[in-house]
């Protein structure tokens, strides 16, 4: 911390170390006897975190979103008689107030739905845009063009084809309908079922691989915390 005196930094570090210990006491929460104490520490830290987190989010909403928009966009736009811009921010403010007020006064609850309706509309538009362009096309294109092909000659197409098979069967595994038991579609149903089994296989491989990654990432976090604790303890003994 550059802008605080060293002693403050030391104190802060000790506080941080203590809080780290509080959180880690979760691991001991089930111990008979002292477990109650550890649970208390843990819950204490959790509630500090929750409170501070909400306050931080509120501060962000004001300082990063509302305040700059008021000062840097709305007020200048008002000064410049830029009514379209003003309208945008006024509309946002009105909808936002509606959302908040409806929770306070039930009489206008219906109006609050205007705000949520608006949010849902924008959100869905953005969702679909992202899903179609960002995922559907991107992934279909990546699969179909056999990206990731190995450069080793005899195997050029093995990996990409495997990838295509994996993608397609996994996709089939999510098939909801077409579960005819008899009739002309029965054979198709049977095929879908077989493909689904293969697809499930790929799905669980994906889950396993991601699980390993998430675990490694979280161990890295653990390592970081333990390093911090170790350095804090050594600092405490060094006294600086």
């Amino acid at each position: 911390m550059t802008n605080l005196p060293v002693s403050l930094d030391l104190i802060g570090t000790m506080v941080a170390a203590l809080l780290t210990f509080f959180v880690f006491s979760y691991l001991l929460g089930d111990l008979p006897g002292l477990g109650v104490l550890f649970k208390f520490f843990y819950r204490l830290a959790m509630h500090i975190l929750i409170g501070a987190g909400v306050a931080y989010a509120l501060a962000m909403a004001w300082w990063s979103v509302l305040y700059p928009r008021i000062v840097e966009r709305l007020l200048p736009a008002l000064g410049a008689n830029d009514w379209p811009t003003v309208a945008i921010y006024v509309a946002g403010g009105v909808l936002g107030l509606l959302l908040v007020l409806t929770k306070i006064n039930r009489q206008v609850a219906g109006l609050g739905n205007l705000a949520t309706g608006y949010l849902v509309g924008v959100g869905l538009g953005v969702s679909v845009g992202g899903a179609v362009i960002g995922t559907l096309f991107a992934q279909v294109q990546a699969t179909a063009t056999l990206s990731g092909a190995s450069s080793v000659q005899p195997w050029v197409f093995v990996d990409p084809l495997l990838l295509v098979v994996g993608t397609l069967t996994a996709l089939v595994a999510f098939n909801f309908t077409a579960t005819a038991r008899k009739g002309p579609l029965a054979a198709l149903t049977r095929l879908v079922q077989v493909l689904s089994v293969a697809g499930r296989f790929f799905l669980y491989i994906a889950l396993g691989a991601v699980f390993a990654g998430v675990y490694s990432a979280s161990v890295a976090v653990l390592v970081g915390r333990l390093q911090f604790v170790i350095s804090a303890i050594s600092r405490l003994f060094a006294g600086r």
């Binding site: 949010l119 849902v120 959100g123 179609v132 179909a144």
Partner: protein
């Protein structure tokens, strides 16, 4: 160039999807048989179990809300809540709903309230059954853990946007021995949920709650649309793969 193609294809896809959705509503009247999903089979039982025990079902709507790119995924969680809310209102056993985004708080309260209104029991509706736990994923998970261990709901249902912090909730649930039905759209939460929970609604499956639980025609229709699009995509990939291989470099 490619971007133009993408836009045109995207537009076409949306138009086709809308058409199939409309057709699907007709088709949905035939009450098609859907692939069995254990998560949705387990849920109705859980609701009644919650009623018996007098405890409530815990429903976690994830860490996001509406208004962002996560809106549709959050809506999937809200849809699941909707299917549970009807039963809850009919029996006056509101689930404990936790959210990490104030917009989801508003939406969830609204869904519960409407369910109670539908059942003519508005007085039974308590907005406090929806709780805003915290504003970010990890504190949210910690808060939900706390709730699970100290308020003892009857079962744990999760659907919505999660990250790897979902593991905290699921592990606590598993430790308490709750039956857990969880859905997520992303790989990270799915992978950490898988070992801990009884029923995992993977990705797309989480979006199907309305069709499975309530057989709502529009929801069944959307499954139909998804399936049609799925096979179109499969054909496109197959065709272009063969084209790619066969085409002279």
């Amino acid at each position: 160039m490619l971007r133009d193609f993408t836009q045109i294809a995207g537009l076409a896809l949306i138009v086709v999807m809308v058409v199939i959705l409309l057709i699907g509503r007709v088709w949905a009247r035939r009450r098609p048989v859907l692939r069995s999903l254990s998560g949705y089979r387990a849920l109705p039982g859980q609701q009644s179990r919650a009623i018996e025990s007098g405890q409530s079902l815990h429903v976690s709507l994830g860490t996001s809300g509406v208004g962002s790119g996560n809106t549709a995924t959050t809506l999937a969680g809200l849809n699941l809540l909707d299917t549970l809310a009807d039963e809850a209102a009919a029996t006056d056993t509101p689930p404990t709903v936790t959210v990490a985004d104030p917009t989801a708080l508003v939406m969830a309260q609204d869904i519960l309230r409407r369910a109670y209104v539908r059942h003519g029991n508005l007085a039974g509706y308590d907005p406090r059954s929806v709780r805003f736990i915290a504003a970010s994923p990890l504190p949210y998970a910690a808060g939900v853990m706390d709730l699970l261990s100290y308020e003892e709901p009857s079962a744990n249902v999760m659907a919505g946007v999660f990250g790897s912090e979902a593991a905290f909730i699921a592990e606590e649930g598993s430790r308490q021995g709750f039956l857990q039905v969880t859905g997520a759209a992303d790989l990270a939460p799915l992978s950490v949920l898988y070992p801990s929970v009884n029923h995992l609604l993977m990705g797309e499956e989480m979006f199907a709650s309305g069709a499975y639980m309530d057989e709502r025609p529009s929801h069944v229709a959307s499954l139909f649309a998804q399936d049609v699009m799925r096979w179109i995509i499969i054909l496109v990939i197959l065709a272009s793969t063969f084209g790619y291989i066969l085409s002279p470099k």
